[in-house]
Symmetry: C2
Subunit: 217 residues, 2 copies
DNA sequence: ATAAATATTTAGTTTTGTCTAAAAATATTT
DNA sequence: AAATATTTTTAGACAAAACTAAATATTTAT
């Protein structure tokens, strides 16, 4: 597997989680920052390797083999992120770019040893689940903060958007994984929320609320 | 810098340490397992980037810039090896191949953090010195076991050959970095040595002796 | 010092992953 | 349902890094 092939597999995987039908050529091109024609070329190659099922003009889906491979790449990415944050004290907004490189290192033994070294973490620093060596991962009943009921006790468990800007905004507001959140009120006009965060009151926009995952209790 | 360019720079660096004059095209080809014509192509490219000084037919030397870059690649390789052995419990014969991949990860901050995490090690698991962030590294007065004087107390400080076969041979004989070695006698016919190793007597061939670094005391 | 052997470079080709421009298929609008 | 718009694919080209085969330098041997 080349780095390029792995990046396509990974992008198809992430798109598949959002829309479970065939993934469009253009959607892939948008994520990888390449042209649709290049995507078509690569889909043929991945299809020859039986990593995707591809019918001309009908989009693409991962095969069993491709799906497992994608999860192994995601596993590597997220384990490296945990390493960078927990062991090397990087902040959660610094690790994505480095992990994008590290996820292509080819050694299953390395990842299993790293997994053990880190204590078999179930989630990465952004709250995303880490597949184990068999590709299995835990699922939690998380919802977006924008969908929260008023006056219930929630806890922040993840971010939908992992951009540097968003993560640094959360740091500034002292919002982190594990923060306790209660929605006190919702503004009709702009859907902004007034929330209680770790005993302090704070107003956040709808755009922030729809990028934060929470769960009850 | 591409992975390929970095591999050329690294090989030229290692060859330079052995023979300090211009490095031959063929010597590079032999180390990289490629053809001389491919080397010529790459030398032109590296010369354009001012990483090497290259005169047709006259061999190549690293520029200041290329030399520093080479040391940073070596630094990465050796720090990752320390990580793999000290933190993930790999054996010294398993780490070279993985480090060959990891050495191309591009993040100075990552390496400086890893360096700190490992306690700023001065040597890798094979006894090779690790350049610091400025490219400086310690030198020790090491000699080959094949050049040792009789009946002096030496300590094993490194291996010249890091092949899996050699390292596993050393494991089998319980020879490791830090082992105490005294040469009891040398056979005229084949230059084999009878040595005292950690209080036991052992016979080793000349080929082994000329791949083990030792120092006095 | 010339001939033979070796080393290096040049020229032209291949593969991978990309691109542009044009053609073809599908989707949307009227 | 036809016309228009959008999406996707094809065809042909390019750059990087390798290759082969031929040409040219350099080194070694006679």
């Amino acid at each position: 597997m080349t780095v390029s092939e792995e990046n396509y597999i990974k992008v198809i995987y992430h798109l598949s989680l959002v829309s479970p039908k065939g993934i469009n050529t253009n959607a892939i091109a948008g994520m990888i920052d390449t042209k649709a024609s290049s995507v078509t070329d690569m889909l043929k190659k991945l299809s020859d390797k039986e990593l995707v099922s591809y019918q001309k003009y009908q989009g693409v889906t991962l095969t069993e083999k491709g799906f497992y491979l994608a999860k192994m790449i995601v596993r590597k990415h997220r384990l490296w992120e945990v390493f960078l944050v927990n062991k090397l004290h990087f902040t959660w907004d610094e690790v994505h770019e480095i992990a994008e490189e590290l996820e292509h290192i080819q050694s299953e033994k390395l990842m299993n040893r790293l997994d053990e070294f880190l204590g078999f973490p179930a989630f990465d620093p952004h709250g995303d689940p880490i597949p184990n060596k068999n590709g299995e991962m835990v699922t939690i009943d998380k919802i977006l903060l924008s969908e929260a009921d008023l006056n219930l006790e929630y806890v922040c468990v993840g971010v939908k958007n992992s951009s540097v800007e968003f993560l640094q905004y959360l740091d500034k507001q002292k919002i982190s994984l594990g923060s306790n959140i209660k929605v006190l009120s919702k503004e009709e006009f702009d859907a902004s929320l007034t929330i209680e965060l770790n005993l302090k009151t704070l107003t956040i926009s709808h755009k922030i609320a729809e990028n934060l995952f929470i769960k009850i209790q």
